[in-house]
């Protein structure tokens, strides 16, 4: 019985890690702009598909492929911000900009479909080999990679936001853009940077999960919804919150599928999320005072 429980847990960790990475991406953009970037899921797809293109299509080496993929994703994030968000940032309201991100996500999906077609893509896991067995439960090596990479991203982002001047400047913008501007911080550049970072984080997730879950052009919206749930469950804007929110959501889904019924998986996980938000409207780690001060 314990083995079965452990298996459900491992399965939940796999999906949860991806939700967490998407959730972090939401938070980074939200923190510097108060925008929910609903194209976040598309960056995960770009990560997986571009990695396939470089690794399998063009037969480049593993490291080169990763670097090129992240560069492509970062550039797309940059172009997206410069072309669609920047012209609107000062004059339009937030809701309109969120609409714009939906438009961008549809556009990206269209381009991806045109380029890659509708079939799923995959490449071999990072390390070949037999799955690892823990107390009779099976964990794939790639799952460990996904969890490791998620952890690495969290640590790097923590160091960046807390130990570097640029990271601190980004946090300052998220607290009060006007005060940040008065302190000589180039807010427009910071917003751009936040889109680039979130695009790269999304792509990292895509690169890591594609060997497990395959990747096709229209996987983005589902990932965006789940990642968004993770980040509001943890408290929108809280880095730590999105991580825990992601894992909680993943494990909840898996346990529901295991102990109630797999058909109820999404429903039960979302009901629990609603319940959490009823009890703690600012999310598990958000503070109600901060939430009240925000524009959105």
């Amino acid at each position: 019985m314990f083995t079965v429980f452990l298996q459900f847990l491992f399965s939940g960790l796999t999906t949860g890690a991806v939700y967490a990475l998407v959730g972090i991406g939401f938070n980074i953009v939200y923190n510097s702009t108060s925008i929910i970037n609903l194209a976040q899921g598309e960056f995960v797809v770009i990560g997986g598909l571009m990695m396939w293109l470089f690794l399998e299509g063009l037969k480049l080496s593993f490291m080169t492929s990763i670097i090129l993929t992240l560069a492509v994703a970062g550039s797309i994030g940059l172009i997206m911000e410069r072309l669609t968000i920047r012209p609107l940032l000062k004059k339009a309201d937030l809701l309109l900009m969120i609409m714009v991100t939906i438009a961008v996500s549809i556009l990206m999906r269209g381009i991806l479909m045109f380029k890659f077609g509708k079939e799923p893509y995959s490449y071999p896991p990072f390390t070949e080999g037999e799955p690892i067995i823990v107390y009779g439960a099976v964990i794939q090596q790639q799952t460990l990679w996904v969890i490791f990479i998620t952890g690495l991203c969290i640590v790097l982002l923590y160091l960046f936001f807390n130990k570097t001047l640029l990271g601190k400047a980004m946090r300052a913008c998220s607290v009060d853009p006007r005060a940040a501007r008065l302190m000589g911080i180039n807010v427009s550049r910071i917003v751009m940077l936040s889109f680039v970072i979130s695009a790269v984080i999304g792509a990292v997730g895509g690169i890591a999960i594609t060997p497990i879950s395959l990747m096709e052009y229209d996987k983005g919206p589902m990932l965006a919804v789940k990642g968004f749930c993770a980040s509001i469950m943890g408290g929108l804007g809280r880095g730590r919150g999105a991580v825990i929110g992601g894992f909680v959501l993943g494990i909840l889904e898996s346990l529901t599928a295991g102990y109630i019924h797999s058909g109820m998986k999404d429903a039960v996980a979302l009901i629990i999320m609603l319940f959490i938000l009823f009890v703690r409207p600012a999310g598990l780690f958000g503070s109600a005072e901060v939430a009240r001060l925000r524009r959105f």
Binding site: G12, T14, P120, P124, I209, I212, L214, E216, A257, S262
Partner: protein
């Protein structure tokens, strides 16, 4: 000369010229309509269907058409939407005055066209699989379909299981129309074969990990797993099944028949069993098999025209079009005669989907003999005896 007069004159000249051309040409074309989901959610069906029809029409016309009449197929895109399919059918019937319609690609769209075709007294040869399209047959006087029934695929799987002494199965189905139909058929037919379904699991079309569901099936004491889905889900299930080392065989539905799936699942696909139409294994058929020559030609022609494999779906359009073409050739351009010909004269008729035997009681004409049980071995298909 004023402008109006000049315009009138040029129109008249044009008309005269055109009428001369049409007289000089052989005979007037036979018009058939086609409705496919070329774009939208079901475009993976509509695209190969459209390609197949374009290719065949070109070939037929280059060989002199049907009894000297050129064949004209007017293809409409239903955008995978019932409303659009209905509008397309009305346009084809009222404006183009077609003799028959082939398509649509999905069950939902086909069902929406049933009353329209019955009213218009024009035959429809659907390329969708749902059993409701042609049943009950007395209310489907003008409707036929070419894909095999889901239930035939289930029968093929259960027959194979029975032969190998499997009585307890765990099923896992995708939460889409395809999965629902499969789930129902699996449940309905199980008692007939003495099979008990001990676990019944589901997953979403975009789910990335089915380990949980498979673990439950393993714990339920099932002797085999049946996965019923199309798309990436079937590859993920295969990978999870392999990494869990479940120790029981995995059966897939007839949606498994694409080399791409073996490619994506890699060595995890070894040993997976599925009922597949003969299109994917034509090269492994004995030479005298009635479908072999036709399947070989279709696949080779398709690959020469388009990139990618034709797949089973393109084959459904192939069968639908060729039935109408044969009916036109033998019975002439009359809607009722075309219908009667297809119902009564398509007997022992080899198509891509199987050997068709239409009758007033069965407007599909295929049973489980349309499938071969195929196992994945060394990265290739192998027919099970």
């Amino acid at each position: 000369m004023n402008k109006g007069l000049r315009l009138l004159l040029s129109i008249l000249t044009a008309l005269t010229v055109f009428s001369f051309i049409s007289i000089s040409q052989a005979k007037e074309p036979y018009k058939i309509g086609a409705i496919f989901s070329v774009t939208g959610a079901a475009s993976f069906l509509g695209e190969p269907e459209k390609n197949t029809v374009l290719m065949l029409v070109d070939e037929i016309n280059r060989a002199g058409g049907i009894n000297g009449h050129p064949l004209e197929v007017i293809i409409e895109d239903s955008k995978s939407d019932e409303t659009q399919a209905v509008l397309a059918a009305k346009k084809l019937l009222e404006k183009d005055n077609v003799l028959a319609i082939i398509g649509p690609s999905t069950t939902g769209e086909s069902m929406a066209l049933v009353p329209i075709m019955n009213n218009a007294k024009t035959p429809l040869i659907s390329c969708a699989a749902g059993a409701g399209i042609t049943n009950p047959v007395q209310e489907r006087y003008w409707i036929f379909k070419t894909p095999q029934y889901d239930t035939s695929a289930v029968e093929a799987i259960y027959t194979h299981m029975k032969k190998h002494g499997i009585t307890k199965v765990g099923i896992i189905t995708i939460a889409t129309g395809f999965g629902d139909a499969g789930k129902k058929a699996l449940h309905d037919l199980a008692p007939k074969f003495g099979i008990t379904i001990v676990a019944d699991e589901r997953y979403g079309p975009k789910d990335s990990d089915m380990t949980t569901q498979l673990t439950k099936i393993k714990a339920s004491g099932a002797q085999a797993v049946i996965n019923w889905s199309v798309g990436p889900g079937q590859v993920v299930v295969t990978k999870n099944w392999h990494s869990l080392k479940m120790g029981i065989p995995l059966y897939q539905s007839h949606g498994w028949g694409s080399k791409k799936n073996i490619e994506l699942a890699g060595k995890a696909a070894e040993g997976v069993i599925a009922p597949l139409g003969r299109l994917v294994v034509w090269d492994k058929l004995p030479d005298k098999h009635p479908q072999k020559a036709l399947l070989k030609k279709y696949e080779e022609d398709y690959k020469a025209h388009y990139k990618g494999e034709p797949g089973t779906f393109g084959g459904h359009a192939y069968d639908a079009l060729m039935m109408v073409v044969e009916a036109l050739k033998k019975a002439g351009p009359d809607r009722k005669k075309i219908r009667d010909y297809i119902e009564n004269n398509i007997k022992n008729w080899p198509g891509t989907g199987g050997i068709f035997n239409m009758s007033p009681k069965d407007h599909c004409g295929l049973d489980m003999s349309a499938f071969e049980m195929v196992v994945v071995k060394n990265g290739d298909w192998e027919i099970l005896k």
